[in-house]
């Protein structure tokens, strides 16, 4: 807490899946970085000048949003994003924690790099940073990194994100070894021999645009492999950025059979389709690629019914030079931290998910997948809190972004709803000026 000893959030509409609170007007008292009380008509704990009271009438108060799939680009690609700018973007988007993917340069495959990321986050960060370490040394897909050492240094999961672990035997070893540490394996599921050379979804649109396509099967085959290996080894598996209907069917069946698997999708997969590539729009290029309307609908359905556990952005900042070029040569990925909340609120507005389910998808479930604090407003929890103004309408513009990059296909989109206030460990990290 800045100058204040306490912070009292009055009259907000609390939504907290961890306590089954669904849109109930309540007060929350924050003291010493923790939630010291949640209830009705909480009195201020001291005189008016020793703390601050915020009237949040009409606002939603939810556990801090958690994005378990973010590229902060530091070390090595600071021209795209830094831990400082990336976490500032996170706070502005309502996030109190992000998991940072290891495909930096050098990749996060050693305790030393993990520690340097955490030190940097402590010094410059506006939210919690949970480093995800590489599964294999140099993300080369060959030999395992030192899982034990990396976890001791603060890594929270393992992934070769950006690159799949091509060799099934290596993935099997990783899963077997993860058992010693109860570690989470996050899979970027892609069968490279099928996706290679492709730059968008394979289908009618790729034929129309004369672009080489990536079949849905490239993702589905890889997810099926990971699930079978998780079944074989008993490892805890999380599937990143699910984009196809077929993938969802495979995950649904695995869950029914009791495989320990969770999965996420990203706002662009439930908002856009391959049609967005029209005109060779490099801001609509990512991996996995945008798919068809059927896939989009299946993802929304899976977010609602629990087949998909979480929404994560795959925030992937790139410099404009890497996007303002030939489509086939353009970098994969878009930024997402500052657009995730309004895009997810579109699902609520459409009636596809309830506000409670939304908070579960973007806060409670991500916390439980990575087994970290957060995702709850229970008394005694760390004060990671997001206040949402669900009504404010605005256009997504470049100057809105705190991220160092602006590679977003949502520029120019009219949206509704925004983080009005973000509190991380009791500290205000973002406040919308009125």
């Amino acid at each position: 807490m800045n100058r204040n000893n306490w912070l009292l959030l009055k009259h907000g509409i609390v939504i907290d899946p961890s306590q089954g609170i669904e849109q109930e007007p309540m007060d929350i008292l924050v003291e010493d970085g923790r939630i010291s009380a949640i209830g009705h008509q909480i009195p201020p704990p001291g005189s008016a000048d020793s703390g601050e009271i915020l009237d949040l009438t009409g606002k939603w108060v939810v556990p801090g949003l958690i994005d378990i799939h973010v590229h902060l680009r530091e070390p090595g690609q600071e021209y795209k994003e830094t831990i400082e700018t990336g976490t500032r973007a996170a706070a502005a988007g309502g996030f109190t924690a992000v998991a940072s993917m290891p495909n930096t340069s050098p990749p996060n495959d050693s305790a030393e790099i993990t520690r340097s990321i955490l030190a940097r986050a402590k010094e410059k960060g506006s939210c919690r940073v949970y480093p995800v370490a590489a599964i294999t040394k140099g993300q080369a897909g060959e030999s395992l990194t030192e899982f034990g050492d990396l976890l001791d240094a603060g890594a929270i999961a393992f992934s070769d994100d950006g690159l799949p672990v091509s060799d099934a035997a290596v993935m099997r070893l990783a899963m077997e070894y993860s058992l010693n540490f109860h570690a989470l394996i996050i899979s970027h599921a892609e069968e490279l021999s099928l996706s290679r050379n492709g730059c968008m979804n394979l289908g009618n649109v790729s034929t129309r645009l004369g672009l080489r396509g990536i079949p849905a099967a490239a993702e589905e085959i890889a997810i099926f492999r990971e699930i079978k290996l998780a079944e074989l080894t008993g490892a805890r598996l999380h599937i990143a950025h699910v984009s196809t209907k077929g993938s969802i069917e495979i995950i649904r069946r695995a869950k029914e059979q009791g495989v320990r698997v969770t999965a996420e999708s990203a706002p662009h997969y439930f908002t856009l389709t391959e049609e967005a590539v029209e005109g060779y729009n490099t801001f609509a290029k990512m991996n996995p690629p945008l798919r068809t309307e059927q896939d989009r609908e299946a993802i929304i359905q899976a977010l609602a019914d629990g087949t998909l556990d979480a929404i994560a952005t795959d925030h992937a900042p790139h410099d404009i030079l890497e996007k303002e070029c030939e489509f086939e040569a353009a970098a994969n990925g878009i930024i997402g931290l500052e657009t995730a909340l309004p895009l997810t609120l579109e699902l609520v507005e459409q009636g596809a998910i309830t506000p409670l389910r939304m908070v579960e998808l973007i806060s409670t479930a991500p916390a439980s997948i990575i087994r970290q604090d957060g995702g709850s407003l229970k008394q005694g929890s760390p004060a990671d809190i997001t206040v949402i103004d669900p009504e404010t309408e605005y256009e997504i513009t470049r100057d809105l972004f705190r991220s160092r990059s602006f590679n977003s296909p949502f520029l120019g989109r009219r949206v509704r709803g925004r983080a009005a206030l973000t509190i991380c460990q009791g500290r205000i990290t973002h406040q919308l000026s009125r």
Partner: protein, 319 residues
Amino acid sequence: MEQLKIRHILGLRDMSAEEIGFILDTAESLKPILHRHIKKVPPLRGRTIVTLFFEPSTRTKLSFELAAKRLSADTVGISKSMSSVVKGETLIDTTRNIQAMKPDIIVMRHSMAGAPHLIARHVDCSVINAGDGINEHPSQALLDMLTIRDHFGSLKGLKVAIIGDITHSRVAHSNIIGLQKMGARVAVCGPGTMLPPGLAAEGVEVMMRVEEAIEDADVIMALRIQRERQGLPLFPSQREYARKFGINNRRLRAAKENAIIMHPGPINRGVELAPDVADSGRSLILDQVTNGVAVRMALFSLLIAESGDERSPDMERQV
């Protein structure tokens, strides 16, 4: 129609049937120039056309350059090995620099789909796509359509069979789009490894046997095939391709009696086309090449007329 509405020739996808017809009519009217003793007229005198070929080409590049010279335009050409692209300059910077030297038209071939569309957004002059990746090759399809129209009088109601590597052929893509817009039926056939998704949805008849594709066809267009595309062989052997997908006289019996044979070149003799078919009276392959110059002359004159400057009085007389 007196003028083109579009400023660039990026693909037949962006053109209406009316515009395609107008270009073909204009090409038709320019064709006599190619048969004179002195094959040069003045309408584009003082105009500059830059050809930027980032992929190897002999006939297309030559055809564009001859077309420009027939109309008295000045042409300058750059190929990839001579350009600053090899020094690491971006495509946008390269074309902006060329733009700064004030050409009227840039003709570009590039290995990546959408590259001409990208530069068209960054330059003031007109851009002609001379082939972008596996996307489109609009001037080739226009010359093919001109050849067919010359022979049959119209494209409407004809059946055109395109045989070969449909996935990787920008010629096939532009022809499919253009022919359908002009009222022709299109059937395709080739190895399953070379048939992209989504064609049936666009109204193309996708056949697995060549005989079915060319049944009752008025036009048979064979495409150049390459066995290896980015590593993996897409069919087992040229021998088997010739046996199962090559156009020979026996197979041609399924087509209409007066059917014509076309090929965008260069031909793998004995693979896509049996030699006696390629050289037969029904082969219009060399007419395609001649018509290529006429079509490109039409594109140049129409784009420059459209560019808004004073319309040359010479041109009024010629066109």
